[in-house]
Symmetry: C2
């Protein structure tokens, strides 16, 4: 197998370059997503809207699972990823609302 100067197989080095490109895309999309959820948090706090909306959350989960399935991504992973992001968004929303307790889930995540 062809090796690069660093002793890493060339194919592995190439694959790592692709991973790095995709990770950069994910970081930038996440940055944009948190800008939007920050605005959602401000809007909800200003309007006194509840943080949680179970219907919206169910729709998000079902949609992401279907998209994941069609794209060949494990739907379970997609749902876990959404939960992971949501937990960070809830943390932000609670900071915006100045509360230190509240619903553990927020659908606008």
């Amino acid at each position: 197998m062809a090796m690069s100067e660093s002793g890493v197989p060339e194919e592995l080095q190439r694959l790592r370059g692709s991973i790095d490109n995709l990770d950069a895309a994910i970081v930038h999309i996440m940055a944009e997503r948190f800008k939007i959820t920050k605005r959602v948090g401000q809007l909800k706090a200003a309007q006194g809207l509840p943080a949680a909306d179970p219907n919206r959350e169910r729709q998000q989960i079902a949609r992401l699972r279907a998209l994941a399935h069609d794209a060949g991504l494990d739907p379970e992973f997609a749902e876990k990823l959404l939960s992971f992001i949501v937990s960070e968004v809830v943390r932000h929303h609670l900071q915006i609302a100045g509360r230190d307790s509240g619903p553990s889930r927020d659908p606008d995540a």
Copy 2:
């Protein structure tokens, strides 16, 4: 504030549409990323390469934190997100390698 027929403020509905678009992008990027890490897992298993590469991992974390900082995303969140994804990749790699134990971290995540 303007309300849509569903009783959701129009701005919130618009923001949710943007969140949905970004989530679809994330799902598709993740699907591509796991295709690549699956190939990495196969390559490492075939070549008997170690799953963990601390140097690569340090580089990935430092790079993602810097990208996150520049994009206005919390670098801590970016690092946590990478760890979250890595744990899923490691699970895949262990399945590919047919092992049920091994390093808890794999940099090609």
